[in-house]
């Protein structure tokens, strides 16, 4: 038998084997693919298609009021969006809103998780109450806070004035200097319970022996917190913070319901500006360009984080 015949036969055998393996694979897992198909179809239709259409529209002229002008315009939409004076203020507000909210949520979530981790009476009740803000629908929470903060009827101003802390009521949501801080405060109030629940679960998973060993070794409460508790909360914290940075940066409803991005755009973020461009001004092209920029900023932030994390890991391994 010639060498080429042997090779050809080996290829055939290998091909037959691989075909057989493929058949066996699909015989075994075919049903899984069938049942996965609807989810994949919905995912493609409801997420991927709109996602790609945003990229597509960001390079075209799509003004619903001028349908005759639809054409490829290159980077024009990006230039228009970036040269708008609202762009930089929206970016700044978005960063303040995101990092202010996430920092506040994490600190309060951590404190409440540690408190609820203590062996105190009525712990189950406190844990139940703690979750209430998070389960309240956003629209209900926002409307309730609007009334609480109202300068004419709101209970907050009334309480502060009765306590002698204020002489006259403050228009919390209506002042350019207070609106963003108030939005952040209300957002922290609503979102911190999720941190509490997740961090509490992580705290409960820390073996008691480690704490006891640290205590025997002479570590005080602060040292135990810094060198035992926090390192054990790292994975949960990273996931929580990453998810919340994305959710908060993209958040539209809370700001819109509380301040409608005002007064005088003092709480305008990319999310509210995108909505305004698309649904109030019908510039779907510029709205898409802004949405693409939002995606790029988030990807950049995530990229920086993972790059820094991998550098740190490499340094730790080397050490």
């Amino acid at each position: 038998m010639a060498q080429s015949d042997i090779v050809s036969q080996e290829v055939k055998v290998s091909h037959a084997n691989s075909t057989g393996k493929t058949k066996a694979f699909f015989r075994k897992h075919g049903i899984a693919y069938v049942f996965l198909t609807p989810a994949v179809i919905f995912l493609v239709t409801l997420l991927l298609l709109p996602f790609f259409s945003i990229f597509y529209m960001s390079f075209r002229s799509v003004n619903l009021l001028r349908p005759e002008l639809q054409q490829f315009v290159g980077l024009d939409n990006f230039v228009k969006v970036i040269s708008d004076p609202l762009f930089w203020s929206s970016l700044w507000h978005g960063l303040v809103w995101t990092f202010g909210s996430v920092t506040g949520e994490y600190i309060i979530g951590l404190i409440t998780a540690i408190l609820l981790h203590q062996d105190i009476k009525g712990r189950a009740i406190f844990r139940g109450i703690m979750i209430v803000p998070w389960v309240v629908p956003i629209v209900v929470a926002a409307m309730t806070w609007r009334w609480i903060l109202n300068p004419d009827f709101g209970i907050l101003n009334l309480m502060l004035m009765k306590a002698g802390l204020l002489k006259t009521s403050i228009n919390w949501l209506g002042g350019t200097s207070t609106a963003m801080l108030t939005d952040i405060f209300v957002n922290i109030w609503r979102s911190f319970p999720m941190y509490t629940v997740m961090l509490l679960a992580a705290l409960q998973a820390i073996p008691k022996e480690i704490m006891e060993a640290a205590q025997i070794d002479g570590a005080n409460a602060w040292q135990r917190f810094c060198y035992v508790t926090m390192p054990n909360l790292k994975i949960v914290s990273v996931i929580l913070i990453l998810l919340h940075v994305i959710w908060t940066f993209n958040n539209f409803d809370f700001i819109w319901l509380l301040t409608e991005a005002g007064p005088l755009h003092a709480t305008e973020t990319f999310a509210t500006n995108t909505y305004r461009l698309a649904f109030k001004q019908f510039h779907f092209d510029q709205a898409s360009a802004l949405a693409v920029i939002m995606i790029l900023i988030l990807v950049l932030l995530m990229g920086i984080y993972f790059w820094a994390d991998s550098k740190k890991k490499a340094a730790d391994t080397a050490a």
Partner: protein, 437 residues
């Protein structure tokens, strides 16, 4: 093996059915645009109607009664309503227009009509309405709001005219016997009320009502946010004409004076229409230019609403008020446009208007003799509405301009110049800016 194939086959069938049922239109039930219920010879046309009327509100009952009456009188047509609040309705109509699944009929604010027409969504109803015998029962001023470039594109259904609503007893406490007629009189009356510790005047510092209030003050001063030019397009002329700029600046000066003199509360910059209506109904503010819908507050505030009276709106140079015309519109792509137009005609008939819009009918032969009807409809002749330009960005700029004066203390003249630029930029972006002299 057979069992496995059977399982796969069954799963495939189930998947296929699910996809087909998900993708199929709901024409046999209540899907948008062109549905039919039942089958056979007596096929019923189902008209999909999107409106902001909630079945939970007692005040909505007359609307639903009118629809029920229509369904009863027209056995071959079924009106299927979908309740969507105003803000969402606008956004949903835009989204549906891009997706091509608009309803057969919807309610529309006057601000939306020009936009929808520019998007090419609205059919020309002029010929369909030319032989409608009731056409003259609706005044020309009202028809004008639904007429663009000589074409009728909507059917007016009710009006919301603004008047000065005031608490007589509060004015009397300050020694004022009659309501102010002009801006200057308002300032004088306001000072007296302020001295007695009352908030004299209510206005909206945000929400859709702010631009509606602001534009009326421009009209009263003899100017407009956009003037139609000889080429048929529009332009704001404040920056090029010092006289016009002076008129526009006087409006912002009026806002500034009211704030500086304490005629309005500094918190009013945060008032939307809900806050303003509530404060007026509860007697926390003595006067406001508001609409007849305040009647709804009478049941919940019987004591504080007892002394509320209606007078013509204050003005500076010439009387003017905001004529809000709410309309029914149909769409070019409706598969049942003929039935939709017939329904809209019926909706404008005396029979329907008497059921649904006793207080605020567009018809001259449906009048409410009480203060909530007649006192407002008497003002129709001085009523004006928006120029037929795309208002999206302009409305936002108008809101910003008032907030600049109230919050940032920007000078009235600079604010007017800024607003002029914003209006012309918006007109330019939308191809509506006139270049003619």
């Amino acid at each position: 093996m057979k069992k496995r194939r059977l399982t796969l086959f069954t799963a495939g069938i189930l998947l296929g059915s699910a996809i087909l049922s998900g993708c199929s239109s709901s024409k046999s039930a209540t899907g948008p645009s062109g549905n039919s219920a039942g089958s056979g010879k007596s096929e019923k046309v189902v008209l999909e109607l999107w409106w902001p009327i909630s079945p939970d509100q007692p005040s909505s009952k007359p609307w639903f009664d009118a629809v029920d009456l229509y369904n009863k009188e027209h056995p071959n047509v079924q009106i299927h309503t979908q309740s969507i609040p105003y803000d969402q309705l606008h956004d949903k109509l835009i989204a549906s227009a891009t997706a091509g699944n608009l309803p057969d009929v919807s309610v529309a604010l006057n601000e939306w009509i020009t936009e929808f027409n520019k998007m090419g969504l609205l059919p020309d109803l002029t010929s369909s309405l030319s032989d409608w015998p009731d056409k003259d029962k609706i005044s020309k001023a009202i028809w004008a709001t639904d007429t663009i470039d000589g074409k009728i594109v909507g059917m007016p259904q009710y009006i919301g005219i603004r008047a000065l609503e005031y608490h007589k007893s509060m004015l009397e406490k300050a020694g004022v016997q009659s309501p102010p007629k002009t801006w200057d009189e308002l300032i004088e009356t306001g000072k007296k009320l302020k001295d007695k510790g009352m908030i004299a005047f209510g206005l909206c510092g945000k929400s859709v009502r702010l631009p509606q209030e602001l534009v009326v003050y421009f009209w009263q001063s003899g100017t407009d946010i956009a003037k139609q030019m000889p080429d048929g397009k529009y332009r704001n002329t404040w920056a090029e004409d010092p006289e016009e700029l002076k008129k526009a600046a006087s409006v912002f000066q009026f806002y500034k004076t009211m704030l500086d003199q304490g005629i309005i509360s500094k918190d009013e910059v945060n008032w939307g229409y809900t806050e303003m209506d509530t404060n007026l109904a509860q007697g926390k503010v003595a006067m406001a230019v508001d609409g007849p819908w305040l009647q709804r507050y009478e049941s919940s505030n019987p004591d504080t609403m007892k002394d509320l009276e209606i007078a013509p709106p204050i003005y500076s140079k010439q009387p003017a008020t905001f004529l809000e015309v709410n309309s029914m519109i149909t769409y070019k792509k409706s598969k049942h446009q003929k039935e939709a137009i017939e329904f809209m005609k019926w909706w404008g008939s005396q029979e329907a208007q008497q059921v649904a819009f006793k207080n605020n009918s567009v018809r001259s032969d449906v009048q409410d003799p009480t203060k909530w009807g007649k006192n407002f409809t008497d003002l129709v002749e001085q009523g004006r509405s928006w120029p037929h330009v795309s208002l999206g960005k302009i409305l936002q700029s108008m809101t910003d301009s008032v907030q600049m004066v109230l919050l940032n203390q920007k000078s009235p003249e600079d604010t007017a110049k800024w607003l002029s630029d914003q209006v012309n930029n918006s007109l330019k972006e939308n191809g509506e800016l006139s270049t003619s002299k």
